[in-house]
């Protein structure tokens, strides 16, 4: 038993928000049908989320793309205030390290910017999508992932990882910290051009369901349902 000190209510005016980051592989292997599909689907996501006030009130959505380096394609935004989604172009290699380092930096900056506006954050969600293996050194990208998922960093996100094409199930399981039902890989024989629209459509539902959970007072990250993808089993160590 401990004695806790209760006291006055809070001192800062705040509004709860649930940040979602789409971290999208934009390497050369995504060129053609996959990236074309991304560019068709992102505006649909914008309208589906942005035009539903009950969802848009609490969801903040950003897009990070990565190849040899990573960049913020869409800053964390209220989608009801965004008129168009940025086009995504595919080129270069697949640096997971660049993606993870950039995400860590962006999340930290966004958190403090949001606090300045009076945001109160739920733990951010990262939806990581890749069609390939990391092309950077394993030690390097794993170190970057450790910094992103460091439990000592209070803003560390929950990560959902999705892979198709040449993506490796084992790598995706690592990216999602080997948590159950957090990593998914395309079923054998699935075409990337078919997987991408399913994935982004599922992401819309994931965001809507996750926002609904916020409104019940128990925020949860609800994984997308993607028919052509299967959960990656998580090994038990003991």
């Amino acid at each position: 038993m401990t004695t806790s000190s209760a006291g006055p209510v809070g001192v800062d005016e705040r509004y709860a928000v649930f940040p979602f980051y789409l971290c999208l592989d934009a390497s050369a292997s995504m060129a053609g049908a996959p990236v074309d599909s991304v560019n068709r689907q992102l505006p649909l996501l914008r309208s589906a989320i942005g035009e539903d006030p009950a969802v848009a009130e609490v969801i903040r959505f950003g897009v990070v793309t990565f190849n040899d380096r990573a960049e913020t394609a869409l800053p964390l935004s209220d989608l009801s205030l965004i008129e168009a989604m940025p086009p995504v172009a595919a080129q270069g290699r697949t640096s997971y390290a660049a993606a993870f380092d950039h995400l860590r930096s962006v999340i930290e900056d966004d958190y403090h910017s949001g606090r300045g506006r009076g945001d109160r954050w739920y733990r951010p969600a990262v939806v990581f999508v890749s069609d390939g293996r990391p092309t950077d050194d394993g030690e390097r990208w794993r170190a970057a992932l450790s910094r992103l998922t460091d439990p000592g960093w209070k803003r560390h996100p929950n990560i959902l990882a999705f892979g198709f094409g040449d993506a490796e199930a084992g790598v995706l399981a690592e990216v999602s910290e080997r948590k159950p039902n957090r990593a998914f890989i395309a079923s054998e024989g699935s075409e990337p051009a078919a997987v991408v629209p399913e994935l982004l459509s599922g992401l819309i539902q994931s965001i809507v369901s996750s926002s609904a959970s916020v409104y019940t007072g128990e925020a949860q990250l609800v994984p997308p349902e993607v028919p052509s993808m299967v959960p990656i089993p998580v090994d038990e160590l003991d």
Binding site: M1, T2, T3, S4, S5, A6, G7, P8, V9, G10, V11, D12, E13, R14, Y15, A16, V17, A54, E57, V58, Y111, R120, W121, Y122, R123, P124, K154, R155, A212, S213, V214, Y215, T216, G217, E218, A219, Q220
Partner: protein, 339 residues
Amino acid sequence: MIELPSAPPVLGRGSPAAGRPGRLAPRGYGGGGGYCADGGDHQGWALRAASIAGVRHRLAGVPADDAYGWAVGSGGLVLVVADGVGSVAGSGEAAQTAVRVASVAGAEALGCSATGSGGSERATGSGASEHSTGSGASERSMGGLDADSEPPAFEPSGSEPPASEPSGSEPPPSGLDAAELDRADLDAAVRRAVVAVGEALRDGPGATTLVVAAVALDGRGRVARVGDSTALVLGAGEWRELFSEADPDGGSMSTLTGALPAARPEVELADLLIGPGEALVLVTDGIGDPLRDGPGTVAPALGAALASAPTPLGLAWVVDFSRQGCHDDRTVLALWKGA
């Protein structure tokens, strides 16, 4: 500041009787719907309750998962608020079961006749009154409840909080006639209530938070909670939490909450003294969160609106305030002490 409707409209010749305060029913329960409001006066106390479905639930045509209940007798009152865990099926019903079970069990432990002397289970009323001052000190027990309670449905862990006066609490006021209940009675009542809810919900379905208060007619009280439904004291327009909450500056928000049933529930306990100018206010997190997040808006507005007991419908009206991102179900059960 919010201006509450002070009385219903008068159509034609007004009814003088309609303006009289309503008598509090011996028991009352509400919630689980779209809009609920209730209340009445009892031996100088004014009780008001309101529970509304959150925006999201209303838009989807889904009833609220919140519930409230009370039981009143000769020695004191038991007040209960519960918030069904939305992600668990059957939790709205669990919350309704919880408020019924807890209020009856708590009242029985107080020696109250929770069945009362007939009449409906609900009454509406208006009016009230003066208020009193309060103080509180809280304790936390990881899964520990037994003492005078029924055998628990869950395994206690850790040490049992003793029913002794914690440091920082104030002694009961002197010179009050109704101080028949001592602190051990009040403590036993809230413990009994929590244990009874754990038993009632043990086989599911559903799960719920719970906050239960046992209040003697002289204003002393004891509060127990499991989860993030909570109790506050309102006095002179200022809110004071009876339980400490997670540090909002500690980084990303935690969304974890305790709930019943649980094998090892985290039960928190606090003492209470409702003094002049104060009210005890039990709330679900649909009110507690915006109250903490809106220290310049929600807290002062609700503080002013609830400076004295509103009509039940007035309470429901103000509880239905609009605020970005605040779409959870909302429930308030408040108790003002009259002259």
